[in-house]
């Protein structure tokens, strides 16, 4: 379990990391990056699996099932769409050092 100050550290550092990743991104990659980050929060699947896995009652099982269903959609859909988008980033020339930044 992560508690107290340690949790605040994690929240802060993760926040800075996210900011840092986006701060210098060329516009060309905004949509794929939004899609990629959409995939990354698909990690909610892990939590959904846990919630369903420890379910004791039928109600919890039903709700947990929906959580897994939705989360799997997020993760898989996010991956497929992002991959398809990035698949297109092939240059006919050799990739130059920077793209339109």
């Amino acid at each position: 379990m992560i508690e107290g100050l340690a949790a605040i550290y994690i929240f802060l550092l993760a926040g800075f990391t996210g900011y840092e990743i986006i701060a210098r991104v060329p516009v060309i990659l905004h949509t794929p990056l939004m899609s990629g980050s959409n995939f990354v929060h698909g990690i909610v699947l892990v939590g959904a699996m846990y919630a369903l896995g420890i379910a004791e009652t039928t109600t919890e099982q039903v709700i947990g099932f929906f959580a897994v269903l939705l989360a799997a959609g997020n993760a898989v859909g996010g991956y497929v769409v992002t991959e398809r988008m990035l698949e297109m980033f092939k240059s006919s020339n050799k990739p130059r050092e920077s793209a339109g930044g």
């Binding site: 993760a14 990659l29 990056l33 959409n38 099982q61 269903l69 989360a71 859909g77 992002t82 297109m88």
Partner: protein, 467 residues
Amino acid sequence: MGLVIDASYLAAAILFIVGLKRMSSPVTARRGIVWAGLGMLLATLVTFGTPELLENEHFVTNLSLILAGIAAGGGYAWISGKRVAMTDMPQMIAMYNGMGGGAAATIAAVELLKASEAGGGAEAYLGPDVAILAILGALIGTISFSGSIIAWAKLDGRLQLSRLLPGQHIVNALLALVLLAFSVMLYFTADLTAISIFFGLALVLGVFITVPVGGADMPVIISLFNALTGLAVGFEGYVLGNAAMIIAGIVVGSAGSLLTHLMAVAMNRSVANVFFAGVGTGPASTDSGPGEMKEIQAQDAGILMAFAGQAIIIPGYGMAVAQAQHKIWELVQLLVERGVTVKFAIHPVAGRMPGHMNVLLAEAGVPYDMIYDMEDINADFSNATVALVIGANDVVNPSAKTDTASPLYGMPILDAMDADNVIVIKRGRGAGFSGVENPLFFADNTRMLFGDGQKAASELIQAVKEL
């Protein structure tokens, strides 16, 4: 086993960050998603080995349900994600994002239900810090869920509604206050009725927030919901004590917030403004008749382009709808063979999302060194013989610079009007997506080539080939 799982979650979080970092450069972007994908796979696999899952008395039932849920949800997303046309990507992102928000909210719902069964409030069952984040995550996740579904429906053309109630913003504010009251109530006494009303109202608020948002602002809203889902996932990660969820969720929450801000800035609007005033919903300033549109035939337009020194192409959503990017690239290749310098000019919010046009042009095979951002190309327009506008409208609307009464006023635009000639490929004479009239179309150096983008491009190709 616990240590292995925790270490794997940490590794997954690092893989996500490395993956996202790689996705932020065009050269490494394609491998970035693979890194992140590996992280997801690792985290998912080790979760099956969680001791609490294995020791649960309903282990077999629950495991079957987990596998069924992954198969059904993942299967649906796999098929829809593979099938969707490139032009419809934005709404699919909205849909998958909504699913993530819904998942985070349902995880919170399970915790709140347990608190309710224990007979007390969330605080008594979960402790104060966990209770607050669980309730906040539930609220944010639910709003993101219903809001994203509405965004999907609007972009997919399934929902044309843009106004629900008079004084919508006041209703929304009141609703938000009521929700806040319910949140506090759940903290102290989580009974089943209160939980149900809480989630019901949060769903309604998500709908109410999204319905009035103008179509041009949709990318900003989707990006905002993406950030919100990230936050909700991070909060629920804290509730479950899961490091991977906390780190990944908060990284997305902060990256998404910044991205939302960048998008809003590119349109010269604040995020608050996007919520509280839809473009084109106010009365448009149509004080003076702007004059006549002047038509041009494809053949003449083709000749004009073939003998141009420099041609700049400005694509917009119309090109996406018409799937004209391949034809346009074919045209460009013909022009380049004839010695014309061709550049693509991309407005930061062309299409329905930043980078939307870049993706489509990349799909058609346009090398990205022919594609220029607004700041890099605006000075070139005065040297261009022809500016070809295909399916773009608001992003070349000069009233954004000149007309203080225009809802677009202040938005940076591509200075297409500075070119010697402007050719506009457009389906009809109507106003743009924002509903604002575009004086460029009536300018003396502008000629209109009416027709579907793909058909018009084919005719231009024909015209250039016949020379």
